[in-house]
């Protein structure tokens, strides 16, 4: 991020970085927790695609996207130069988090049998506190970058 940095642009960068960072624990920690589940719980043989996705594929995607989002947030917060690809990666990670939340909600409705209202609360909490701020953060940084380019 080169160019003139005024106080307001620094603030935009800071707020954007913090908002992106809010999505990191959700992706990274739940990715690691799901990988632990995969290796430490008794093995499961199933042909149901939803179970296969949630137990075997989703944890690794979550971990990878969490790492991308963490890198993007760290680069922004430590005032390092950031490539557009990394921002796009962070945006994809945030949207994937929302998509995964919806899928997990459906999965729990079918297989886990927790109270519907509690599940809905958990889902909305994750959405409002983690992934929506991350999406807003990416757009804030993007706008801030465009403004810097215009100034240059």
């Amino acid at each position: 991020m080169s160019g003139i940095k005024t106080n307001s642009s620094k603030q935009a960068e800071l707020i954007g970085g913090l908002l992106i960072f809010m999505g990191v624990p959700g992706l990274l920690f739940s990715g690691i927790a799901n990988i632990l589940n995969l290796f430490l719980l008794p093995p499961l043989e199933t042909s149901d695609l939803l179970i296969i996705y949630v137990r075997f594929i989703c944890p690794f995607i979550l971990l990878a996207l969490g790492a991308v989002m963490l890198t993007a947030a760290l680069k922004i917060l430590l005032q390092d130069s950031i490539q557009g690809v990394l921002l796009v990666g962070a945006l994809i990670a945030a949207f994937y988090g929302i998509f995964d939340g919806v899928l997990l909600f459906i999965y729990e409705r079918i297989y886990v049998f927790i109270d519907f209202r509690m599940e809905l609360c958990d889902f909305l909490l994750v959405l409002l506190l983690q992934y929506c701020p991350a999406v807003v953060g990416v757009f804030l940084i993007r706008r801030h970058n465009d403004r810097l380019q215009i100034l240059n």
Binding site: L18, F21, P25, L74, L77, C121, L125, L129
Partner: protein
């Protein structure tokens, strides 16, 4: 060796505190919601011992509060605002509380959990809570304190 400015080290400290603090905050808010949900939907049962009181009534309130303190300290550190020592002490308390609570839960669950669930809980505690939340918070607090 790379040389970082004080401001950058302080920011890095803030980011490390934020990593742990957000984890505590999110899990605390989730616990708090569950507490109110169960309080509103299930019949009242008188707690029988201090451990139950802690698990059912103190934990859902302590965790979001400590997580909030750590997150505020992190935001202050990252934005290079002046930060009072109380915030850093609060962050340290949060980190050590996380460690003590995790150890306590492991000992408490030891007796009646199946071994594979206990193993899973133990790994979860060691990797996520200890390694990714508490240790970064302690390290971050030290970095912020050194460059305050």
């Amino acid at each position: 060796m790379l040389k970082y400015s004080n401001q950058q080290v302080r920011r890095l400290g803030g980011v490390l505190i934020f990593l742990g603090g957000l984890g505590f905050l999110f899990s605390g808010v989730k616990q708090l919601l569950r507490f109110f949900f169960l309080y509103l939907t299930t019949p009242w049962i008188e707690p029988s011992n201090p451990v139950t009181v802690y698990l059912k009534f103190a934990r859902p309130f302590v965790f979001p509060l400590l997580g909030l303190i750590a997150s505020i300290a992190a935001v202050k550190a990252v934005s290079n605002r002046s930060i009072h020592m109380y915030w850093l002490v609060g962050t340290l308390i949060t980190a050590f509380w996380g460690v003590i609570d995790g150890i306590f839960l492991e000992i408490y669950n030891w007796t009646y959990e199946p071994i594979y669930i206990f193993r899973l809980d133990l790994m979860y505690f060691l990797i996520i809570i200890l390694l990714l939340q508490c240790c970064p918070m302690i390290l971050g607090t030290y970095l912020v304190y050194r460059n305050n």
